[in-house]
């Protein structure tokens, strides 16, 4: 039984579709005068953020509050808590206060997995992004956005993304969003192509269930969705690419490139966007860019995940990985 959500790779196709379908119903709550459900009344969820991420934390918080959970926010950034020992201590302290679930964002890959599998705590663990490993709710909200736009809001129910072609562009090496998306999109039947300079692709990427290309212009016309990843300027200093200008020229999305995409194709971005680097302002503000919609959908997806993991006496998600211990 899967009590936690650690990696997008842990989700079966049916689990993923169930989450997307549930999120679709959750989304309708947002259209009502009272955007609140009593479902998680009496449950306590802690948002344990070891890394700054106002966007993700607020999204989870909105989802938790809409489901009437009691919310505790714990931001440990910069304090002595960055030392490993404290993850355990902090988690145990919170659990001693009667926490039912821990939503964790951590700079170290695998920290949520450790929290879920080390016997430190009993609470359900939801990964809100760990190091350069996984960010499963981001992948789910991306898939949700794609299904809505490409298949349809109602027509999409029960459906996956079979046959859709998704291109993920940018700093794959340092991106948990890319890893989660490759896993989930593959599970949902989509064909994924990663496009990046070779320096920003991990050694071992050849074993991932996707294609890899160095050439954006060749890939664009064959894409139903193009997901632009944020590229941090500091990567430049570590010689991952020569200059911002060269990166933009080869891998940035501008109006000319967008024109080469099929009419129906989406431009996606997990945010925050670095305008002028991986995406021009014109593209970012265009009708086809779903960045803002993705933020909205994030709340619905997180409501769905929280409901399915915490709404009953046990989880609704099936197990694909064996938990340690």
């Amino acid at each position: 039984m899967q009590r936690h959500l650690i990696s997008a790779a842990d989700l079966s196709r049916d689990d993923a579709v169930l989450i997307l379908d549930t999120a679709e119903e959750m989304a309708r709550v947002a259209d009502r005068p009272i955007k609140k459900l009593p479902t998680l009344r009496g449950r306590t969820v802690v948002n344990l953020f070891f890394e700054d991420s106002t966007r993700t934390r607020i999204s989870f918080e909105a989802a938790e509050k809409r489901l009437s959970a009691d919310v505790i926010n714990f931001t440990a950034k910069g304090s002595s808590v960055s030392k490993g020992e404290s993850l355990k201590d902090t988690a145990q302290t919170l659990e001693a206060m009667g926490v039912d679930a821990v939503v964790i964002r951590h700079g170290a890959s695998g920290a949520p997995y450790r929290l879920a599998n080390s016997g430190w705590i009993d609470a359900a663990v939801i990964n809100a992004g760990d190091g350069t490993h996984q960010h499963p709710t981001q992948a789910l909200l991306d898939a949700f956005t794609m299904r809505r736009r490409l298949v349809g809001r109602d027509a999409g129910l029960g459906q996956d993304l079979s046959g859709r072609r998704v291109t993920v562009v940018g700093d794959v090496l340092h991106s948990r969003v890319a890893r989660s998306n490759v896993d989930l999109l593959h599970t949902l039947g989509a064909e994924v192509t990663l496009v990046a300079p070779p320096t920003l692709l991990p050694v071992g990427v050849e074993s991932w269930p996707c294609e890899v290309s160095y050439d954006l212009d060749v890939t664009l016309p064959k894409s139903d969705a193009v997901m632009m990843l944020r590229v941090q300027r500091e990567r430049m200093n570590a010689a991952f690419f020569p200059t911002e200008r060269e990166y933009s020229r080869r891998y940035g999305l501008d109006s000319d490139r967008m024109a080469r995409m099929p009419e129906h194709a989406l431009v996606m971005h997990p945010g925050p966007m670095v305008r002028g680097m991986e995406i021009t302002a014109q593209v970012a503000d265009s009708e086809r860019c779903t960045a803002v919609e993705q933020v909205t959908n994030g709340v619905s997806i997180r409501m769905a995940v929280l409901y399915l993991l915490l709404g009953g006496n046990e989880t609704a998600l099936t197990a694909r990985t064996t938990e340690e211990k």
């Binding site: 169930l18 379908d21 549930t22 119903e25 959750m26 309708r28 009502r32 005068p33 009272i34 609140k36 459900l37 009593p38 479902t39 489901l67 409901y307 399915l308 709404g311 009953g312 006496n313 046990e314 989880t315 609704a316």
Partner: protein, 195 residues
């Protein structure tokens, strides 16, 4: 409501058959028109799964009688249930509010079986988050008794005295391929929760 209880088809006997159900629904439709004085502000909301189909049939009959369009939708009460913690989370069903909402209207909730009343309590809570109806009424195909809350139906297809050891199962053509109401014995499962 105990549509989820397992009923053994073999030892379950029909208490209402297809034609009975059609007749009963027609009667309820007439009662609604009568009570609601023309039913022009009525919104029928079926409770998933089978209540939705019954609501649709009622709406069709009301339209026949009144020769006006009758609004009909669905109200999923899953996330308002008081027994959420007692079982795994269920898949959500659709809540579809027709027209421009329920404010100031007469909402008639439609369900297949009225039992403990807890479903209807959840439905009233759910309605509360959606708007403010002029009044709320309840139509059920079968009332099997054993209320645990002060709730009663305004329109009842059939009052069916039952024991707690029995199950009542409503089948509808749209979902189950035939129309019937089955009364059966509940398999004695150790430690099983009372409905």
């Amino acid at each position: 409501m105990d549509t989820h209880a397992k009923t053994h088809a073999s030892d379950a006997r029909p208490v209402l058959e297809g034609p009975d159900i059609a007749r009963v629904l027609t009667r309820i439709a007439h009662e609604i028109v009568e009570r609601a004085k023309g039913a022009d502000d009525v919104v029928l909301l079926g409770i998933p799964t089978r209540g939705v189909f019954l609501a649709q049939r009622l709406a069709a009959k009301l339209e026949q009688i009144t020769e006006r369009e009758v609004l009909c939708g669905s109200l999923d009460i899953t996330m308002y249930r008081d027994d959420l913690r007692l079982q795994p989370p269920r898949a959500l069903a659709r809540t579809e509010i027709p027209g421009d909402g329920i404010d100031g209207r007469l909402v008639v909730l439609v369900d297949d079986v009225l039992f403990s009343g807890r479903t209807i309590r959840a439905a009233l809570d759910a309605l509360n988050d959606i708007g403010r109806p002029r009044a709320v009424q309840l139509a059920v195909l079968v009332d099997r008794g054993h209320r645990e809350l002060p709730i009663r139906a305004d329109y009842v297809g059939k009052n069916l005295p039952t024991s707690l050891r029995e199950t009542v199962k409503v089948l509808v053509t749209e979902e189950d391929g035939r129309d019937t109401v089955l009364l059966g014995a509940k398999p004695a499962a150790p430690g099983e929760r009372q409905p």
